[in-house]
Symmetry: C3
């Protein structure tokens, strides 16, 4: 594997093989697999789970990693092409990215969306401007509209919990949050559940529809895997028979990049906090999923998050094993 | 070993076994002992020695660690239960701690006292709210009133220097500092010296008495080990025949959590700076100990700190070996 | 090897042996060479390449490292001797440096020049006040007037590219930058090229002459290696037949430590930006070198930096292999 950027680049069989490897590495550690191998970790956006789980993954496989982040070493990295750098920025990504990549056997990159123009972000313009500079294997650690490591971990979590693929009912629900958040997780999650062959409902208020390009990609994945996609703003309808509710807040797409427009719409929606009544018509063992971090009492109630439905810690832990499988395929000795 | 939280949880024989192991690992490295093992390091309070020595310890044993700290990845971690998180904090410890723990084979946690209420801090309320969320082996890297890693290193340092246990005279002395500092080190040190069987004198000005619960715990340890405990504000009396003076500044306990009250008391006490005359009636080879960081010319004079009495670098170095022994017992393959 | 502080401490044969080792470690990894060994990394000045490349180097050799930096753990480390520490600084280098060193098998230190007095900086007064506290092997990761790791990597880069040593024409050119930058890289580079036996021209505007002590040291190196040194402010003359131009901005030495004086001089010099016309009379395959970070459109034009002359990424990557060789000689088992 040279690039891990999007689950859509793989077949369902290839995903299954990755998940089988992830489970094997959980049960049977291989502390010699990546002996002396180095993963470069470049964070242009903040991180906790990704930062910790990738470092832990490399140690467990016998290698190691180093971290470069704006907090530590990069003050105002310039990204614009053709600029005269007489301001604050002391270094351009055109040097920084290839240099950081050159010290590793692979590199992981995180850079959130700029969130000014939805077309710009959907095209992954900024992320691509960095990954095009790399001549090593690389991993998307969250870009403007994707988060394949999270999706691979979530897929594994549903497999671990024996939540059905074909025929399984998956609700991706918008939730309230005081700030407009990136589209990466909802876009990746929608595609993942569809690609797993599930019957997926996107539950969201008006103004928060996912972009049509994302819906189309998910429909194609559903078609190939025997799943289905629908959208609604009707909670009862969405939750009927649901086996999973995956909650996540995201920016208004109607007012994308327009902070005031987004706030005016969002202000009325603070009742979109997942709580016990949401589960009235769901399957009895319906699970609550979230990628974390999550705001308690805002996105979800304490009683749901602390109750038996919640599998958020399981999801977070699976990040490590999913990424170990990716790293093992990417950097392990070929037998 | 599942938990390393307090020397009082161990017998003197168990401490001795740890220190023997620490010395063995110094002389005979075991770079395979913890191959592929991961230590999660969660710092909610700043650190230099602990940060460096735990990372070095894991590398020397063949494993590794990752660090999560407020500087890096955690901006306003919420600790209050039942809160609606609509402010700055993006994540609650109820998620963050179990997730960070889930990536390691063990986790070390540092969180200083809140220093509003002495009862609250003595009960380790905040620290316990975090460690109760962990289902892995864990290590106290300094809590409101404890610092077992420092105490284990200090015990080893006195053993290394052949300072007598039973019959050894140990003075724990308050020292001046412009700011009120936590009680963790003085409380842990008092108990450690008593538990080692030494004759311990707490030398402190009025208003800086250690809490009665801490004194009682130390008296019990002294009774079981053949040591003794007394308190005084008379320096000459305290220092007579002393083989060790362990200096440390701490908050007023009379004005605990009351910054103005503490300052008014403290203001008059800047002559509590350990200097040569303090040693007039001490044993000729009386040692100077301190956990570091130490303010020169404030807590102790340059000539004492740079002179032959000072063993502060020795203590700091022993942090690494003491912690290697703890990690080896916690995570090493059982034979 | 106990200390790696200055290429001048080694013979040309010793440098050659290091570079041969660096190339061997690139082609034939030795992930067991430094098993369980620890490198302490102390950064008192910011870093990206050094931070990343030393961590990667230790992982590739089977050991590891930890990082202490002002961003992370050190807030106002005191450096002045004999001071009463009643201000902000909580720790003095007299404790911090030996403690940090004590956790490693070797330590790397970075501390930029104070840039108040040129005599003070040329004497490496501040750097020496730290390294004199270390009883372990140590590495200069950039001091006031030296950067031996960069120079070793640059030497290797010229060897890799078969740029002639004796008879090779090397131009070290000042370049514009909005701020006065340290002298470390130009001083180290001048000596390195001379020591490699090249014919070196220092091209710089009036007021930016390198210090006479540095010129003398370079002349001595040139004399011993069969090279030569000259200075000019005439670009055409300097560039004639050049096989390498190494661009770097540095402080005015005439107005050293005088920010206004430096700015007045510098203001008129923004045409000192390396661009295609500079190469009119150079050798056809003349290379462009720079230690990075570099400001595009300020120090060098995009077309030079993105064109075939530029070897800046190659130089940066060689940092890792050069440092692996140093670490291998310093910490490897002697056979």
């Amino acid at each position: 594997m040279k690039v891990f950027n999007d689950l859509a680049d793989f077949s369902v069989d290839e995903i299954s093989a990755l998940l089988t490897l992830a489970s094997r590495l959980d049960k049977h550690p291989e502390p010699e697999a990546l002996r002396g191998k180095v993963l470069s970790l470049l964070f242009l956006s903040p991180s906790l789970r990704t930062l910790a789980s990738f470092q832990a993954a490399m140690i467990r496989l016998g290698g190691g990693s180093f971290v470069i982040s704006p907090d530590m070493s990069i003050h105002g990295l310039e990204t614009r092409p053709g600029i005269v750098m007489d301001g604050v920025a002391a270094e351009h990504i055109r040097e920084a990215v290839p240099v950081i990549a050159s010290y590793g056997d692979a590199i992981g990159i995180r850079a959130f969306a700029e969130r000014k123009s939805i077309e710009y972000d959907l095209a992954e313009t900024e992320f691509h401007s960095m990954t095009s500079l790399i001549d090593k294997p690389w991993i998307n650690m969250e870009s403007a509209i994707n988060h394949p490591c999270q999706s691979l971990a979530d897929w594994k979590t549903m497999d671990d919990l024996k939540i059905p693929a074909n025929g399984g009912k998956f609700v991706l629900s918008w939730a309230y949050h005081p700030k407009p958040l990136p589209l990466a997780v909802p876009c990746a999650t929608l595609h993942m559940a569809a690609f797993r062959g599930m019957d997926v409902t996107v539950l969201r208020p008006a103004g928060f529809e996912l972009p049509e390009a994302i819906m189309q990609k998910a429909r194609a994945a559903a078609a190939s895997s025997g799943g289905s996609i629908r959208e609604t703003d009707d909670r009862s309808d969405a939750m009927e028979g649901a086996q999973v509710i995956y909650a996540k807040s995201w920016s208004s797409t109607k007012f994308y990049g327009d902070r005031n427009g987004d706030q005016n719409l969002r202000r009325e929606l603070d009742h979109w906090c997942v709580d016990n009544p949401w589960f009235d018509d769901a399957a009895p063992d319906c699970r609550f999923m979230h990628c974390l971090p999550v705001r308690r009492g805002v996105v979800v109630s304490d009683r749901v998050l602390d109750g038996p439905r919640s599998v958020v810690i399981h999801e977070a832990r699976n990040r490590m094993f999913a990424q170990m499988a990716v790293l093992h395929q990417m950097l392990g000795r070929k037998s």
